[in-house]
């Protein structure tokens, strides 16, 4: 009886070992490729916002991690810093707007050194298909309208959807989603305005210690 149990346990153990080996071998074979894929996917996303010719550094090399829950909506946000000729030329912020129609909306917001928006993209959301999901670039051009806007154009009190007396279009049947995105982008711009120098200094320190 106890011998039976032992044999069964042994069989189970052997298969556990074989399974783990299979997974380990696949992991080993795909690891580099997956990392490279993720890097490329991120780069593609960033270059869609920041024009390639506007940066000459490796924009992924020294990302900053900040905790600015009030402004960026998440405990830990990554900021990518772009330089041209050793001068700050772009920053791309990860930000989350908590008050979408059905949950948080995650954004990437790119700003140039003067605080002018290079572009915005929604990277994740749970908005209603056909209504709120028009914030996606694939569904509508709305999100492209942020390009070139800044805190002075339109004026700060016009950073609202038209329904609330501002300058930004809402969609037919969906006001909550665009309102949330406009607020989120505005918060990033305000944060950039306050923290730009401190952030760039932090980046330079980081780049110095780990070239």
């Amino acid at each position: 009886m106890s011998r039976n149990i032992l044999v069964s346990a042994l069989i189970l153990g052997v298969f556990g070992f074989i399974g783990a080996t299979l997974v380990a071998v696949t992991e080993f074979g795909t690891h580099e490729r997956i990392l490279e894929n993720e890097r490329q996917a991120l780069l593609r996303q960033l270059y869609e916002i920041v024009p390639k010719e506007q940066v000459d550094n490796d924009i992924l090399a020294h990302p900053l991690t900040v905790n600015a829950r009030d402004a960026l909506g998440q405990e830990s946000s990554t900021i990518y810093v772009g330089e041209k000729g050793k001068q700050l030329s772009a920053m791309v912020f990860e930000a989350t707007v908590p008050d979408g129609y059905s949950g948080p909306i995650r954004l990437l917001v790119g700003v140039d050194s003067n605080g002018v928006l290079l572009g915005t993209r929604v990277v994740a959301h749970k908005e209603t298909p056909g209504l709120g999901d028009k914030v996606e670039k694939e569904k509508s051009d709305w999100i492209l309208g942020f390009k070139g806007k800044s805190l002075t154009d339109p004026k700060l009190d016009r950073w609202k959807v038209k329904k609330d007396g501002g300058d930004f279009d809402q969609f037919t049947g969906a006001t909550v989603t665009p309102r949330a995105v406009v607020n989120g982008v505005k918060a990033v711009l305000l944060y950039f305005d306050q923290q730009k120098d401190a952030l760039y200094k932090e980046y330079l320190d980081k780049a110095k210690t780990k070239p």
Binding site: N4, V7, L12, G19, I34, T128
Partner: protein, 228 residues
Amino acid sequence: MSTSYREIVNNGLWTNNQALVALLGLCPLLATSNTAINGLGLGLATTLVLVLSNTTVSLIRNLVRPEVRLPVFVLIIASFVTAVELSMNAWFHDLYKILGIFIPLIVTNCAIIGRAEAFASKNTVPKAALDGLMMGIGFAAVLFTLGASRELIGQGTLFSGAHLMFGEMARSWTVEIENYKGVLLAILPPGAFIGLGSLIAVKNWIDKSRQKARKQVAISDEGKAVTA
């Protein structure tokens, strides 16, 4: 009680279709069937896992004692799913990102352990492999059909996102109906249930009318026999 190859094919594709008859694996089925390509992607991944797990289970069927049989099957399936997941992440990165958590969830697709236990553990390797392939194709076909109809009705396109699976040249495969607003319901979760229900109804209807036709043939044969 050995099943013929013909029967295995029939069972997998139609008579015992895992999605339409056994109603197994509904969680991934309903969740990833919003476009034709998503459906096809998860369908193919499931098929691959089914073939691999059925073959392996059949190979070791005389080695494993009945009392540890199920844990061993689960181990095998989980290892294969993880391997498939990593490979998809490496070679179909964009599609992988869309299908997301539903790939690891293939492990929980009861159809897979169901076939391992009900068929592969009692049959020879070629039969088990064929069973896995046919069950997988049957499942993938339902996923694809459901995905295609939901996509077509819901947003008026077909094969959107084909480039995620077949590379950049497939970008032009997308068919779009002009000036079609789309029926939102089809894309939302209820659309998945309604769609699957309709597919099951169609299958049952076809079965019924076939049966009727067979009966009528039988009756008219009898009639001939009597008059003769």
